[in-house]
């Protein structure tokens, strides 16, 4: 959608790549195991094929982490594996939904149809990633993720009990910490101004039912 794609020439040393695969493969295996356990908690038994697929998925995860499978294109392998996991999750989640009744679709038919196609296509992506080389997944900006996501969650947690003023001010301050070149004095001023602007614009200007101050006031 935009031109801001991660740089393609990002690459790791062999040791770093082994570590990346160790962690990545383990995460896949663990999440697969969680899904496998969940599949026993449903009302109707999950079909054997789905269970077998989950077991194979876990095995592939372990093989990646142990370095038994050569991950040539990490982007495709991990991306495809995650999508297969999503498809398997959809199979488990839609397990209790009735399928075809005669020639009429049941509520479970379409989800399983889409999940099946997704699994097959993702499998193709994974296999492609094992056979042909590709760029590494570039490093994550943990600082950005933590503070941005944290600020959004803070907004979600505070908007009801504490009102718009506190929620938006705290959200903006937490959010600003995501930038490496954060300047606190400026940030506080900007946050205060924007909060004041929002406090006037949304409840009064646009007549939306926003609560401005904490409930107990």
């Amino acid at each position: 959608m935009s031109d801001a794609t991660p740089s393609g020439d990002w690459s790791r040393t062999a040791a770093a790549r082994r570590k990346y695969n160790l962690v990545g493969g383990s995460i896949l295996a663990v999440v697969g195991l969680v899904l496998f356990t969940t599949s026993f908690l449903l009302q109707n038994p999950v079909p054997l094929t789905v269970r077998a697929a989950i077991i194979i998925f876990i095995a592939v995860g372990i093989a990646i982490s142990a370095g038994l499978l050569r991950v040539q294109n990490p982007q495709d392998v991990y991306g495809g594996m995650a999508l297969i996991l999503l498809a398997l999750t959809a199979f488990v989640a839609s397990n209790d939904l009735p399928g075809m009744r005669g020639f009429a679709f049941g509520p479970g038919t379409a989800p399983r149809l889409f999940a099946f196609t997704l699994a097959i296509l993702s499998l193709g992506v994974v296999v492609g990633g094992l056979l042909t080389a590709g760029p590494d997944v570039s490093g994550y900006k943990i600082r950005g993720v933590v503070f941005i996501i944290g600020s959004i969650l803070a907004f979600a947690a505070t908007i009801r009990p504490l009102g718009l003023v506190i929620a938006s001010f705290s959200c903006m301050v937490i959010c600003a910490a995501a930038a490496e070149d954060v300047k606190w004095r400026e940030t506080i001023i900007v946050a205060a101004v924007v909060t004041a602007f929002c406090a006037v614009l949304f409840p009064y200007g646009l007549n939306l039912p926003f609560q401005l101050w904490p409930r107990f006031w």
Binding site: M1, S2, A4, T5, P6, Q75, Y78, G79, A82, L83, A90, A93, S94, L97, G102, F103, A104, G106, P107, G108, T109, A110, P111, L118, L121, G124, V125, T132, A133, S138, Y140, K141, G144, V145, I148, I149, S151, I152, L153, F155, A156, I159, R160, S168, C171, M172, C175, A176, A178, A179, E180, D181, V182, E186, T187, A191, C198, L206, L208, F210
Partner: protein, 500 residues
């Protein structure tokens, strides 16, 4: 022809009432303002401003939303030219030549040509929407569920083929979108699907939640990763008017861009991004001096700008006639229409003619306003861009949060958006394109509904999709497109293998 003029006259009557002109102006202005800011696309803009229109009458609300839409479309090009940052994904290609022109001190003509091109394309597209609206409505009557399903398949394949990157990966994205759209209550039986017992999920995941998370927050996370240097053209924008040779050079490009953009806009899955890319490539191919492209060729600004504006408007055709949103922004329009009690589709034109034609007429007025407000206000937009990103993104985040919260007054939605922000960031890191996913998500429920209906009518016989002629043609085109797209990539892969 007489009907057309009569209808447009009726529309003008609705659109030029003082309130509606004001709404159109406010919409275009706000749209431009947000379009100028990098990081918020027209999608997020409309989502954010949707609540504003709740209190307005339906016609006014839609006129304003449409104004925001093409305002954002136009604002994006201003930033492309002046700072080399596309404010809008559809103006990515405008950067290539537009910014070069600005560096050569020709920012004025570049901006003017973008405005003139957009205006011309807007005029043509408006007439096209008016002219094609009625005949297409009758085509819509020929469409059964099987045809609708095939048409949507074609749209999705289009999105896949034209997305950059690998075709199989884009296909997986479409399916991911389809799968996510299945979450929530089943339309026919009301059964809870894949909600894991979470009551907030029983209505499904909101489209705005996914879109804003993937594009709004995901984009910010990505931008923080590469603190790009911003070079703003500091020189004063002087000499707005393009010279006569400029106009001559641009005229053909504007015309071709308009035609290409109009065609691509109608197709589901097309939309303005693809239109602008296609128009630029086309100009480059047919140019006698292709080496000038990327070094400030005026055609390189004129063609994509007219194409994206034309596409932005003709995208209303499938929405207003068939009721199918051809792109994510139009899907949001469906949401807006539904809130105002209008069901998009062929019946809008017959049942609410003043709404239909009023909206079309307002498109033209909106385009005129864009030319009028943008050229004198360029200086203001430039000043806005001097706000450092470290202050800009918290503002974007807070406006997005408030926008999402105000849709349903649900903090849960806000948290979900955060999750989709991470998902979007993760997908891009693994080189998956989120745009096909969004389209799959939008079309998912419609596709399932039509698939189910078609199968029910055909008594479980899946061959109905290839035995009905219109449906078979649509699927055939989709298939050919897919094969054409996959072939070179297979060959490319093979080459890679062989060179190793």
């Amino acid at each position: 022809m007489y009907d057309l003029i009569g209808n447009l006259w009726l529309g003008m009557g609705v659109a030029v009432t003082p309130t509606n002109v004001m709404l159109c102006l406010v919409g275009a202005l706000v749209g431009t303002l947000i379009g100028v800011l990098p990081g918020i696309g027209s999608l997020a803009t409309i989502a954010m401003l949707l609540p504003i229109t709740f209190g307005l009458p339906p016609v006014g609300a839609l006129i304003m939303l449409a104004g925001i839409y093409y305002g954002a479309q136009y604002g994006g090009s201003t930033t492309s030219i002046l700072v080399n940052i596309p404010g809008e994904s559809s103006s990515v290609v405008t950067c290539l030549d537009g910014h070069q022109m600005a560096r050569q001190g020709r920012a004025g003509p570049a901006l003017a040509i973008a405005a003139i091109g957009s205006f011309f394309a807007g005029c043509v597209a408006t007439v096209l929407v008016a002219a094609l609206g009625a005949p297409l409505t009758s085509v819509a009557l020929l469409f059964g569920p099987a045809e609708y399903f095939s048409l949507m398949c074609l749209g999705l394949i289009f999105a896949v083929v034209l997305a950059k990157g690998s075709v199989p990966k884009a296909l997986t994205m479409v399916l991911m979108g389809l799968l996510l759209s299945m979450i929530g209550s089943d339309l026919e039986t009301g059964a809870e699907r894949m909600t894991w017992g979470v009551p907030e999920l029983s209505d499904g995941i909101g489209f705005v939640v996914v879109g804003m998370g993937m594009f709004g927050f995901g984009e910010i996370l990505r931008n923080l990763e590469q603190p790009g240097t911003r070079e703003i053209v500091q020189a004063k924008v002087t000499g707005l008017m393009p010279t006569l040779p400029d106009l001559k050079a641009a005229a053909g490009a504007i015309g071709r861009g308009t035609v290409l953009g109009s065609m691509l806009g109608i197709l589901p899955g097309g939309g303005s991004i693809i239109a602008s890319f296609a128009a630029y490539t086309f100009e480059n191919r047919i140019s006698k001096h292709p080496e000038r492209f990327g070094r400030g060729a005026i055609e390189g600004v004129a063609a994509p700008e007219s194409a994206n504006n034309a596409a932005a408007q003709t995208a209303f055709i499938p929405l207003l006639t068939l009721g199918i949103p051809p792109n994510p922004v139009m899907a949001l329009m469906v949401g807006a229409m539904t809130i105002h009690g209008i069901v998009p589709g062929p019946q809008v034109m017959t049942k609410q003619p003043e709404l239909f034609w009023g909206m079309i007429a307002s498109m033209w007025i909106g385009n005129l306003m864009l030319v009028v407000i943008n050229l004198p206000m360029v200086g203001i937009w430039v000043r806005l861009l001097r706000v450092p990103y470290r202050h800009l993104f918290p503002m974007i985040v807070i406006f997005c949060c408030i926008g999402i919260y105000s849709l349903n007054n649900a903090p849960f939605d806000v948290s979900m958006t955060a999750i989709f922000g991470i998902v979007g960031y993760w997908l891009v890191k693994h080189d998956f394109e989120p745009a096909p996913m969004i389209l799959g998500f939008v079309l998912g429920p419609l596709m399932e509904e039509n698939l189910r209906r078609a199968m029910l009518i055909a008594r479980g016989d899946a061959s109905v999709f290839v035995t009905r002629p219109i449906s078979a043609t649509l699927l055939g085109i989709a298939f050919v497109l897919l094969v054409l797209a996959v072939l070179p990539s297979i060959r490319g892969k093979r080459d890679e293998v062989f060179t190793e």
